[in-house]
């Protein structure tokens, strides 16, 4: 079985089509048929029996993709399932997600990979592409069966949640994965430096009396993995970068033609460690929120392309688990339903990136770097479309999230930029 597709033709009329994959930015129509893009651009007639969406004044983009999401299933269905996560995604305008493998049991074999993929298809919201684990059980000891998992539908590999502590294992993974043309994604964190820390090490951690995680804990693994990618010719993708130093190191790597790509989460380009003040566990995640200097460097990194992708690291947690002393609370916040609003407010409207760059970072490049279908409205491509209004104001109300998770620091915040219609496989799966 495959992801469900729409039975009727769908015509999106009069929107501003922004598709960097075709170098397109013009007002026009898009026609979707049989789960594919039938025509894109210009003035198209309305076929008989077609559903019509009036996109006047709105932006029509290739469906957004988020390659870093935690769906929690199998194992923690109490905090999120593939279905609720996929629903949350489309509520945020996101048409496809890659689910991280730190599930219970860990997604380190073809059975779990198939299961996750099938759950996504059954739910019929955003497409779900499973990540596989790099090591068996994510224990960092032996390589997992990458080829088998690729066969079952895994698109990338990571031990996210944790770093791969052994440089030797990371080297092997990068070499081995080359044959299958899949990225190895690393959660960069030196555990000996980070151990016991619950927020950024700096003036706020000194003020609150909490042990901090220094920026170097991330940067040490960033440079290590870039060097290993250089040695092996493999593709290293660096997850959720959070420091100025990391951006500079990635720039260094790209300048030398090393196959390194990077992503940043919307919270890291919008919030600083100040959000933790008062011991707010809804601002606690790993890597932590850092300083204004880091935020600025990350924003610049997105602008100049050093950082390729805008993701969320959507990580739902139960209310009870977050309702705890700060040091004990689990790391992570949800993000699928606020990503577009945050990215528009903090990057687009501050003139740091253009609309085209926004769509590129949230769609085209996601597909390109992870070799996924979609990310383009060229004829014959997937009928995944995000229709959004970059100027629409809205206020975040976590109680209305489609996700089971409510752990966000953005409750009550007002954003400018909202997804209005989300279409997957030619089916309208969400309207605001």
């Amino acid at each position: 079985m495959a992801h469900p597709i729409g039975t009727r033709d769908l015509l999106i009329k009069g929107g501003r089509i922004i598709d960097p994959s075709q170098g397109l930015d013009a007002v026009g129509d898009v026609l979707l048929r049989n789960g594919q893009v039938e025509a894109c651009g210009g003035s198209l007639g309305t076929p008989d029996g077609a559903e019509v969406i009036d996109a006047t004044g709105l932006v029509v983009a290739p469906g957004f993709i988020d390659v870093h999401v935690h769906l929690r299933e199998p194992g923690r269905e109490d905090v999120e399932t593939v279905a609720s996560g996929a629903h949350s995604a489309v509520a945020g305008g996101i048409t496809a997600v890659c689910g991280m493998p730190n599930t219970k049991p860990v997604t380190d074999n073809q059975a779990v990979v198939s299961f996750v993929k099938r759950q996504g298809e059954n739910a019929g919201y955003a497409r779900v592409y499973p990540y596989g684990a790099i090591s068996v059980g994510q224990k960092g000891e032996t390589l997992a069966e990458i080829a088998e998992m690729v066969g079952a539908g895994a698109v990338a590999f990571s031990d996210d949640g944790k770093p791969v502590e052994s440089a030797q294992l990371m080297r092997t993974a990068l070499e081995y994965a080359r044959a299958f043309n899949v990225p190895i994604a690393e959660h960069c964190e030196d555990m000996t430096l980070a151990r016991g820390g619950s927020m950024n090490e700096g003036i706020m951690s000194a003020k609150l009396g909490l042990k901090g995680i220094p920026a170097e804990a991330e940067e040490i693994y960033v440079i290590r993995d870039i060097l290993l990618a250089k040695r092996t010719g493999g593709h290293i993708h660096l997850c959720h970068l959070s420091t100025k130093g990391s951006v500079e190191l990635v720039r260094w790597g790209k300048e030398r033609g090393i196959n390194v790509t990077a992503e940043v989460c919307s919270h890291h380009i919008s919030l600083t460690e100040d959000a933790v003040d008062g011991y707010n566990t809804n601002a606690k995640m790993n890597p932590p929120l850092r300083t204004a200097e880091d935020v600025e460097a990350l924003q610049q990194g997105v602008a100049d392309g050093t950082i390729d992708l805008l993701v969320t690291d959507h990580a739902p947690h139960h209310y009870d688990e977050k309702e705890r002393e700060f040091a004990d609370a689990p790391n992570g916040i949800v993000g699928l339903e606020t990503a577009l609003g945050v990215n528009c407010t903090y990057l687009l409207h501050r003139g740091i990136i253009t609309l085209s760059q926004l769509v590129d970072a949230m769609s085209c490049k996601q597909a390109k770097i992870f070799r996924l279908p979609g990310g383009s409205l060229a004829r014959g491509g997937l009928a995944d479309v995000t229709i959004f209004d970059p100027n629409r104001q809205w206020t975040c109300d976590p109680t209305r999230f489609k996700s089971k998770g409510r752990n966000t620091p953005y409750g009550g915040h007002t954003f400018t930029g909202q997804a209005l219609h989300t279409i997957v496989g030619g089916r309208l799966v969400f309207s605001a």
Partner: protein, 319 residues
């Protein structure tokens, strides 16, 4: 209606200089009560106070207990299990259960920074922080300041150096916040691996050698060095710590003025402080203990607010 300190005492960082002075001023007459034959006043009669200690502590708990009992309050001691994660009830549930038993005040000591605030935000009773993780220990800071003020009069311009493991010390932090608010100059002296990175940004001078601190200071507040720090690799050995940072009488003899020596206790004699210093003429360590009860009585008294509707009715006589 909250009293002049608000609903809770969570730390010295949130207090104003005036509030701190109020506590110190109020503590003075409370000292006298501990000198009486009948060491009791009826002020908090009928109030129920729970000493909720998640970390073992004899001296602080006893000091609070004396303070509570000398104010005629009813006290209950609860020694609770470690953190929420490890075992037993969550802090939230513990709080709610206590509240359901209609208590008036909670004195809490916990291993997580922010735990006192966490509790205070969730229950209506007054919450007093008796030490939360590596964040603050406000009553210790207050009694240290009272002890210094007794000897110096005014704290403005006085030079106080905190010696030892400042990184892990909530006593140090409360002292830093409190002393700087009252205009004292604060410095720290200890191995750099045991000082917080952002210490200078807290308005504090750093001395790398104890001799420099002794040369500069009017008083030293000597912190206990815990064995675990050596085991965790922050310093090579206790022996080396004593040789480089130990407060010894030989070093004190070089001091240009008569230094006061404070220590929050319990002391590791021969490690951070030598016995002859601890028991010597410069030491005010026992005064700290006496002041501890008085300061805690003052805090309990000032937190016990009134009821606004009755206050209106009572607003007639001036006798």
């Amino acid at each position: 209606m909250p009293g002049p300190l608000g609903k809770d005492l969570l730390g010295l960082a949130p207090l104003s200089a005036d509030q701190i002075r109020l506590v110190l001023d109020t503590a003075v007459p409370f000292r006298e009560i501990s000198e009486r034959t009948i060491k009791k006043v009826p002020t908090l009669r009928g109030a129920t106070i729970v000493n909720l200690f998640f970390e073992a502590s004899t001296r602080t708990r006893i000091s609070f207990e004396f303070a509570e009992k000398r104010l005629s309050a009813d006290t209950v001691n609860v020694a609770a299990a470690g953190s929420s994660v490890s075992k037993g009830e969550t802090l939230v549930d513990t709080a709610r259960n206590l509240e359901a038993m209609k208590i008036d005040m909670v004195v809490i000591r916990h291993s997580a920074s922010g735990a006192a605030r966490f509790l205070a935000e969730r229950i209506e009773s007054n919450v007093i922080n008796a030490g939360d993780g590596t964040n603050e220990h406000p009553t210790q800071g207050l009694l240290d300041m009272l002890t210094l003020r007794d000897r110096f009069g005014d704290l403005a311009g006085r030079k106080i150096c905190i010696v030892g493991d400042v990184l892990h010390s909530r006593v140090a932090r409360s002292n830093i916040w409190g002393l700087t608010k009252l205009g004292a100059e604060v410095a720290v002296c200890g191995p750099r691996s045991l000082l917080p990175n952002a210490i200078e940004e807290m308005g504090v001078t750093v001395f790398d050698r104890i001799e420099q601190a002794i040369e500069w200071a009017d008083a030293l507040n000597v912190l206990r060095l815990q064995l675990e720090r050596m085991q965790a690799g922050y310093i090579p050995s206790l022996r080396e710590y004593n040789r480089v940072f130990g407060v010894t009488s030989a070093r004190l003899e070089q001091a240009p003025r008569d230094l006061l020596i404070l220590h929050p206790g319990p002391m590791n004699r021969g490690v951070e402080i030598d016995s002859d210093v601890a028991d010597g003429p410069h030491s005010v360590i026992l005064d700290q203990v006496t002041n501890g009860v008085a300061v805690r009585m003052a805090v309990l008294y000032l937190l016990a607010g009134g009821k606004p509707e009755l206050a209106e009715a009572a607003k007639k006589g001036n006798a």
